[in-house]
């Protein structure tokens, strides 16, 4: 009896020793992960906080609505840049939606064989191409032959940046509509087109809108392709075939300028951009939660 109890004690003491070590490793691991998460979050918060701190002072009604003033004249704003951003990104979105959505539909519904695989491959490649290269492409196709910078060439570059995201996510969104829903529609005697338009697409729509918002958020933060497409302007420009101001381009120009008043305005512009991207991402999250609810069935 005694020896049995002794053996059990010995066994459990080694087990407890091992358990103690595991506990230490477990706590170490948790601490390490927590530490890294804190560093990441701190970096993000530091950037955000610094942009808000530096930029908030520059933002006022005049900043949002006025043209830039020449160096040495105080005041002025980025009103034309905001307008330009809306025009350039809006045009890009209007061009990207039909092309991206129809390609996504094609890939999701008929996406077998060599043509579809090639499309997917190039779409993935396109999503990895640096935005400045896309800007150069737009320059070669639309700026150089016409011999002047234009807002439309910027929209074209932005469209190229949005397409891969739209194509692949809308394909995924449509594919994630349960096959049974599609079959249910066809079993009622609906045509393929009607089943797609009336049943499958609406079911996938929240996810597609999410993708669209994220794509817009992505190009909102882009500057590189604008350098040799939209080029920038000091005026209220609304004609897409002329050079046009754009917010992130103005931030770039002001930030590298030697004038403190312009640098302050660059911070203000940066803050506006961050707010816009934040709003788009929050909207995307909201839409995505709706999409998940729709697919729970």
């Amino acid at each position: 009896m005694a020896s049995f109890a002794g053996a059990r004690d010995r066994a459990s003491s080694t087990r407890y020793k091992r358990l103690g070590r595991r506990r230490v490793y477990g706590h170490l691991g948790t601490a390490l992960a927590l530490g890294c998460a804190t560093v990441a979050a701190a970096a993000l918060l530091a950037i955000l906080g610094y942009v808000v701190y530096q930029g908030i002072g520059a933002i006022n009604w005049a900043f949002l609505t006025q043209l830039p003033h020449p160096v040495g004249v105080s005041g002025g704003g980025v009103g034309n840049g905001i307008l330009g951003s809306l025009i350039i990104i809006g045009t890009a979105t209007l061009m990207a939606i039909p092309i991206g959505l129809l390609t996504g539909i094609y890939l999701a519904l008929f996406g077998r064989g060599a043509i579809a695989e090639t499309l997917r491959f190039f779409s993935d490649v396109l999503s990895g191409v640096p935005s400045i290269a896309i800007g150069l492409f737009a320059y070669t196709v639309l700026v150089a032959p016409l011999k002047h910078f234009s807002a439309f060439s910027a929209s074209f570059a932005f469209m190229m940046l949005m397409l891969p995201l739209l194509v692949r996510t809308s394909e995924q969104a449509i594919r994630s509509v349960p096959q049974s829903v599609r079959e249910g529609a066809l079993a009622l005697g609906m045509s393929n087109a009607r089943a797609t338009l009336r049943i499958v697409l609406p079911t996938a729509m929240p996810a597609i809108v999410t993708a669209l918002l994220l794509a817009i958020a992505r190009v909102t933060g882009e500057t590189a392709p604008l350098l040799f497409t939209a080029f920038g302007s000091q005026f209220w420009e609304t004609n897409p075939s002329n050079p046009m101001a754009e917010l992130s381009l103005q931030v770039f120009t002001y930030a590298i300028s030697p004038y403190p008043s312009w640098q302050a305005q660059a911070w203000g512009g940066a803050l506006l951009l961050i707010v816009a991207v934040f709003a788009l991402s929050a909207g995307a999250r909201f839409m995505l939660s709706r999409a998940m609810r729709g697919l729970e069935a």
Partner: protein
Amino acid sequence: MRDELLAAVDLSAYYGERKAVGNVSIAFRRKAVTALIGPSGCGKTTLLRCFNRIHELSFDARVEGSVLMEDQDIYSAGVDPMAIRRRIGMVFQRPNPFPTLSIVDNTMAYGGRGLSRAQKQERAERALRSAALWDEVKDKLRSSPLRLSGGQQQRLCIARAIAAEPEVLLMDEPTASLDPIASAVIEELMASLAERFTIIAVTHNMQQAARVSDVTAFMLADESGTGRLIEVDDTAKLFTTPSDRRTEDYITGRFG
């Protein structure tokens, strides 16, 4: 009026090279419930999906042989599958209401072409009543079907199928994803629907087949995995004195 509305003649169904259903010939009695039973993978669902030409929508799927509906082969050239699917409705294994349409729009999803607004409302109400769902949803016709329970969703799918006023109703294990109480409601419903429709129902559940069907067909996969029709008979006879040894083994629970 002939006694048999629908018949398969030497019907085989393939997925690519794989023959899932082999040389099945069977006739379905008008306004009766026919149950297709058999172990998993015996091809009963595939066979069912041949009757409304849904099988051919699967990748690389094809059908050989013919399916006669009142002497017309639904697989002959020039027959529009969409027209066939309006005459032969289907209820699926899992409830599949259309997530973005309201309850009433789900019910009338087949279109209702040529009906006035009032007629559509009337038809929706009639279908929902026939599916024993009206009393539960009449105050929330405009709300989402996703708020309904699984059993209610399945009855909505039945309402959606019968709103198109088909002649045949195909049911693919309609209670497989439901709890026993919801299943019992559907089973009762099948009995009442048989007064108006020719019903062909796939089921895993032999007790269910015995309870709801007039005729039972037993299928079994052969060595190469091709589903064969072993025996068809009146349900009472098939479950008490089957003529094939394999049927007897199956219904007495010796395999499957």
